[in-house]
């Protein structure tokens, strides 16, 4: 049921309907009651509340010792200009989408990448050989080879925190309250309520990845904005004028 819903929503290109989510939520609830409850983690990013402060980006670096040439999460900042409209700022937080149909998983030759009990897509470093096929396969550009550990690295939804009852670092420190994290299997959770009550979208819906990261207020112009700048490396040549630009 769960998969069907997400597949359907992905297939039409953009998640649009509160009603469908509501129906799915109800049946999920019934299903959940039958067995012992296992949380399925998800994130709902309300773009109306993102102020582009990059608190999430830096908190993630600190929490996860992310090496200098990479990011596990990041906020892309756009100036969006549509014909006949004033230019507008769009801040787009990006991270591993912890897909239910993760393209990174089947390409792994050693089964290091796997889907964990609560829905996280994780990498078992004891198995990973650093071949980076998963890095290539990710449609969200969310993976990298960690040059310190020599293995594939990515957002874990702060697995090491959620297991201890804490929130992911990026969520805990989100100043505008844009990043919301919780149990999609619990119909009463904040994130489930947000999915029911808002029009939501996903990134790269055409990839049919069934992601667990949803966006409120995502302009369709941006839903493909994932490639290239997830791990943003400013060029450092020593000449001030040649430094990477940025806002």
């Amino acid at each position: 049921m769960d998969t069907t819903r997400r597949g359907f929503l992905g297939a039409i290109g953009q998640v649009t309907i509160g009603a469908a989510a509501s129906v799915a939520g109800a049946s999920q609830s019934a299903e959940a009651a039958e067995e012992s409850h296992v949380p399925h983690w998800g994130m709902v990013v309300d773009l109306r509340k993102c102020i582009g402060c990059q608190a999430c980006t830096v908190a993630c670096i600190m929490e996860n010792a992310v090496p200098e040439d990479a990011f596990r999460t990041h906020v892309s900042v756009y100036e969006l200009v549509k014909d006949g409209q004033d230019p507008a700022m769009v801040m787009l937080p990006r991270l591993c989408n912890h897909c239910d149909d993760p393209p990174c998983l089947p390409v792994c030759p050693v089964e290091a990448t796997f889907k964990a009990e609560n829905g996280e897509v994780l990498v078992d470093a004891s198995k990973c050989v650093g071949c980076a096929y998963c890095v290539q396969a990710c449609p969200y550009d969310a993976r990298f080879i960690n040059h310190e550990t020599q293995v594939a690295d990515k957002c874990t939804f702060c697995f090491h925190r959620t297991q201890h009852g804490l929130l992911p670092a990026c969520v805990e420190t989100c100043v505008g309250g844009a990043r919301n994290f919780g149990d999609l299997n619990d119909p009463d959770s904040e994130v489930s309520i947000m999915l029911r009550e808002n029009e939501v979208s996903v990134l790269r819906p055409e990839m049919h990845t069934n992601p667990n990261v949803y966006y409120i207020g995502l302009d369709d112009v941006l839903d493909g904005r994932v490639a290239g700048d997830s791990a943003y490396h400013p060029e450092m040549t020593g000449q001030a004028h040649a430094h990477g630009e940025g806002l």
Binding site: M62, A88, D141, T156, G165, A169, Y232, A240
Partner: protein, 1023 residues
């Protein structure tokens, strides 16, 4: 192409991952379909190098189990001026801060913040999965910079030992010296640098000899020690005790005049206090419409996170619509919020034209709150259910040649018998009646009147304050205002109509964007819009800060008064007093020409660092013998100051410069000595919010890690307090030593260490009003206040230490959120009147011209100090572009060393509007040259739609020469420059001197004396 996406952050960004080979074609494990049954991961192999969790909190019960290797402490971030309460996570063994989050007790970091009575354990659970809304409701945050600045603690370029310059000032060469040598040399002076004798602090502290022979108004020679501070980081009260009450110098200034001072002065004009400059902020959560002009909620500002959070929620879940009026589109606007958050581009420095147009329209269409404005007194306001009042109905003397021109008509002017001095509070203000002027009473008075009043000294022309404002507003046509600010008339009317369509639930907000040549009047005009709808102290309107709990004046200890206390006196170094008080004025007047003075004076301004630079290099009104920079950087921060730098570096001009700073910034770089200081989570302090918090809030900072500075011979860490105490003891200054701090019974306690001061300050905070509860053993353990527990027990009285422990365990003292309002009104109301006419402003003469300026808000094109128009010196034909700076969401002037920030934004290309770029053939990525009358810089261009026409915008925080952007040599060992720290450009390098000043000084606003960094006349070319 219908849509254009401008990826602001990464023109040169290459996909980090895009270089690997073709994708793997086969699948090893087929993807399962249907409900996924995941694996149970083995922790240690799946989380990379992530740091272990700080504790475990049961999601159901909220029970907390500590991680014994880590400490969690509530203290304060000093990564910017907001100074948020934060929670710091420390690796105990490594004495290293691992990460920072917010303090859920603190309104700066959490909304809604948790009740103060909550135990520390409950505070931990509140922001975990066990908390309300699965932890989302009470989540407590640090911003991007706040998350990164812990890196400054371990910055390899920190100054850890006292330094003395080797070679000329600014050479970048230093030697380490002992703390004891440092104190001896700065106190005793002598031939310290082989350049001749230098007076030490002992000689300078002369309380008898005048600073200026024949001009006693400037006080004693001790005033020739001048102190430049940045911002009050919670330690200024200690500094002020040493400087003013112990050493006896009256010269202390902060950074406001090159930060947001023009706004604060404009606000101060309306709130009736040019020194404290009160200001109100919108009630972001309950307002229905806000105009942000010269401030950018969520992009920058103070309190940065709180405003960002409240505005984000209000535009998404609440009832707020707002516009951001700014030459540059920034993160304050939010595309996904649609019409809720709109951007209105404006020409730089012309907000006053917009505001006066709105005011004109409000007068023409009677869209001002006449009922509110008609109350001439607090009694009248109370009688009509209002919560503030104004002087709109008060009569003002308008005869230019009347000795009281520009002042309000008072009872004594009319010959009324008053109980008390003329023009004192006992002397009533006058309003008009059918029988002529009468004392303002408890009933409404007429708003408009222009006429003559018969006084015992003859007839005098009078008008009401509101009449004067209306005349000023009507003196220009809507089309004039529209042309000047670049906002079409229809848009101006739309803004005015919407602003006046929400009762009291509308507001105008401003701040640092007022730093332009007309900034003072622009700010006064913007703020006046609030008074015209009477929104002050109303829920949904504007509100002042609730304040805090004083650490210096409390029921337990008196940290202000002490035996032998000195009263510092004399006119201040920055000339922010009436010129007419000087001997120069009297001498010139006697000679028949009192004006112009030799340089500008600013009676309607606070202390001015901008003007200090002119005073320092010109020795006017007198020279400084010693200058102390404390954690401040005017050489980086003041536009145009580079033109004064060579003179400032000359030891013949200022013989002794001492810096107290953890880093070698652009200003410390030119000092003779550097005293190392604590960083971030190593330091003590108490602060309260500047604004935006309706309840009382005091944030407490304490060392949650062992400071890294070297120790002195007594084993104390060298820093600000150690230095000042050491100097005081060597000089025998009062107020320090074994008998320095009186308690409530008058018994004297020692002040030999920082702890003697701050621990007793914490007791004052704790005991004010209803004392706080004692900290429990659990609170002390969970917050790691155990780290300083022995010191507290040894220093404080038995009944005190658990109270102080509560202050540190909870990171301060916070009134509960329910205290924000009483019904529809703010609990903490501002009671003095809003000044539609400010008589101090309306009556003073500019020292440089002898002429008057308007006493109401007004729109005036920028002027230099001689009253000539800036555009007459630098005509638009030659200087068609205007340059502005804007605040970065990440960098400030002292954060560049936090290396994670440069990972996200590595530099600051100049932002060029699309039309301007096309006219000059500029494309994104091109090198451009910007030239102003003050300087030239070259940088990369980013072409944007979100920049006003003919405007170029530069993000602040880059273009450093200090902090390691240049080589630093200490004891012969050179730490080479890091080009990353030098990245980008600094707008202030384009700043200008005022060419009409005889004594060199930077271009400043004529009333507030504040720096001009917006609207610099410029040219641009592609190179």
């Amino acid at each position: 192409m219908t849509n254009r996406r401008n990826i602001l952050k990464g023109v040169a960004a290459a996909g980090a991952l895009g270089t690997f080979g073709a994708g793997y074609a086969e699948t090893v494990q087929k993807l399962a379909k249907g409900k996924w049954s995941g694996k149970k991961p083995r922790d240690e192999h799946v989380v990379g190098n992530s740091i272990p969790a700080e504790f475990t909190i049961d999601p159901e019960t909220g029970d907390v189990t500590l991680n014994p290797d880590q400490a969690m402490s509530y203290t304060m971030c000093i990564g910017c001026t907001t100074m948020c309460g934060v929670r710091v996570r420390v690796d105990k063994k490594a004495n290293k801060v691992l990460r920072v989050a917010g303090n859920p007790y603190s309104p700066m970091s959490t909304d809604p913040f948790i009740p103060y009575e909550s135990s520390v354990a409950e505070s931990f659970a509140a922001m975990a999965q066990a908390g309300p809304g699965q932890g989302l409701t009470r989540r407590s945050t640090a911003c991007g910079r706040g998350n990164a600045v812990l890196e400054q603690v371990d910055n390899p370029r920190r100054v850890l030992k006292p330094l003395k310059r080797v070679g000329p000032r600014g050479s970048g060469k230093w030697e380490t010296i002992s703390f004891e040598q440092l104190v001896e040399e700065v106190v005793e002076g002598g031939d310290l640098f082989g350049e001749g004798s230098v007076a030490g602090l002992r000689e300078i502290r002369d309380l008898e000899t005048p600073a200026v022979e024949g001009a006693p108004e400037f006080g004693p020679r001790a005033n020739r020690l001048v102190w430049m501070n940045c911002v009050d980081d919670g330690r200024d009260n200690f500094v002020l005790r040493w400087l003013k009450q112990s050493f006896g110098s009256n010269n202390f200034t902060r950074h406001g005049s090159y930060c947001g001072g023009a706004y604060r002065s404009g606000s101060g004009a309306m709130f009736g206090d040019f020194k404290a400059m009160p200001h109100a902020k919108p009630d972001f959560s309950n307002a229905e419409f806000i105009i942000f002009a010269g401030t950018a909620p969520g992009n920058a500002g103070n309190p940065f996170k709180r405003i960002g959070n409240l505005v984000a929620k209000a535009r998404s879940d609440g009832n707020l619509n707002y516009v951001v009026v700014d030459p540059v589109l920034n993160n304050a606007q939010n595309g996904p919020s649609g019409e809720r958050a709109r951007w209105v581009p404006i020409k730089p420095g012309t907000d006053g034209a917009m505001a006066m147009a709105m005011i004109r329209w409000m007068f023409e269409n009677e869209r001002f709150n006449a009922t509110y404005l008609a109350n001439p007194s607090k009694a009248a306001a109370d009688a009509t259910g209002e919560t503030s009042w104004s002087n709109a109905t008060h009569l003002v003397i308008t005869d230019q040649d009347h000795p009281r021109y520009g002042h309000c008509l008072r009872g004594s002017d009319m010959g009324l018998t008053i109980e008390g001095e003329a023009y004192s509070d006992a002397d009533p203000y006058m309003v008009i009646s059918e029988t002529g002027p009468v004392a303002a009473g408890a009933s409404p008075a007429p708003l408009f009147h222009a006429g003559e009043a018969e006084t015992p000294n003859g007839a005098v022309n009078i008008k009401t304050a509101l009449t004067l404002l209306r005349e000023e507003a009507m003196s220009r046509e809507m089309s004039d205002y529209a042309e000047d600010c670049g906002i079409p008339i229809e848009k101006l009317v739309e803004l005015a109509r919407e602003f006046t369509s929400h009762g009291r639930k509308a507001a105008v907000s401003s701040h640092g964007g007022m730093m332009n040549g007309s900034g003072f009047y622009n700010a006064y005009a913007l703020m006046m819009l609030n008074t015209l709808i009477g929104n002050l102290n109303w829920k949904g309107g504007t509100m002042i800060a609730g304040g805090g709990f004083s650490e210096t004046k409390g029921p337990a200890y008196d940290l202000v008064n002490f035996p032998g206390k000195v009263k510092a006196k004399g006119l201040p170094f920055g000339r922010n007093v009436p010129y007419e008080k000087t001997t120069e004025f009297k001498t010139k007047k006697a000679a028949g020409a009192p004006y112009p003075a030799d340089a500008p004076w600013y009676p309607n301004a606070p202390g001015l660092a901008t003007e200090w630079m002119s005073s320092l290099v010109n020795g006017y009104p007198y020279g400084a013998e010693a200058l102390i920079f404390r954690n401040t950087n005017p050489i980086y921060g003041i536009p145009g100051v580079a033109h004064l730098l060579d003179k400032l570096k000359d030891p013949a001009v200022v013989p002794l410069i001492i810096s107290i700073d953890p880093f070698i910034n652009e200003s410390t770089a030119i000092s003779d000595y550097i005293v190392p200081d604590s960083v971030m989570y190593e330091t003590w302090g108490f602060t309260k919010p500047w604004g935006g918090v309706a309840t009382k809030a005091t944030c407490a900072r304490w060392p949650v890690i062992e400071p890294k500075m070297a120790q002195n011979a007594e084993g104390q860490r060298v820093g600000l307090e150690t230095f000042l105490i050491g100097v005081a003891k060597r000089m025998g200054l009062p107020g320090f030593g074994d008998e320095a701090i009186p308690d409530a019974q008058g018994k004297l306690h020692p002040l030999n260490r920082a702890e003697d001061w701050y621990l007793r300050g914490a007791v004052n905070v704790a005991m004010t009003g209803e004392p706080v509860s004692d900290a429990t053993d659990e609170d002390i353990e969970l917050s790691n206040v155990a780290r300083i527990l022995d010191d507290m027990k040894a220093t404080l009285k038995p009944e005190e230490w658990r109270k102080a422990a509560t202050i540190f365990a909870k990171g301060g003292r916070y009134e509960n959120i329910e205290r924000s309002y009483q019904g529809d009104k703010a609990t903490y109301a501002f009671n003095p009147p809003m000044l539609v006419w400010n008589e101090g402003l309306g009556s003073f003469r500019r020292a440089t011209t002898g002429t008057h300026l308007p006493g109401t808000p007004a729109w005036r094109a920028p002027e230099f100090s001689d009253g000539s128009k800036v555009h007459d010196h630098y005509p638009r034909e030659d200087w068609p572009v205007q340059v502005v700076s804007f605040k970065s969401p990440l960098q400030n002037s002292y954060s560049v060393g936090a290396k994670s920030l440069l990972r996200i934004v590595a530099s600051n290309p100049v932002n060029v509007g699309r039309d301007l770029a096309q006219a000059h053939g500029i494309k994104t990525g091109d090198m451009v040259r910007l030239t102003t009358p003050g300087g030239t810089l070259e940088s990369v261009a980013v072409v944007r739609d979100g920049v006003a026409p003919d405007t170029v915008a530069i993000e602040h925080g880059f273009g450093h020469r200090g902090f390691g952007a240049q080589d630093i040599t200490i004891d012969g060992t050179t730490m080479p420059a890091d080009p990353r720290l030098a990245a980008g450009v600094l707008l202030n390098d384009l700043g200008m001197l005022d060419p009409t000043r005889g004594k060199a000084g930077v271009w400043v606003d004529p009333v507030s004396g504040t720096a001009v960094r917006h609207g610099l006349p410029a040219r641009i070319e592609r190179i």
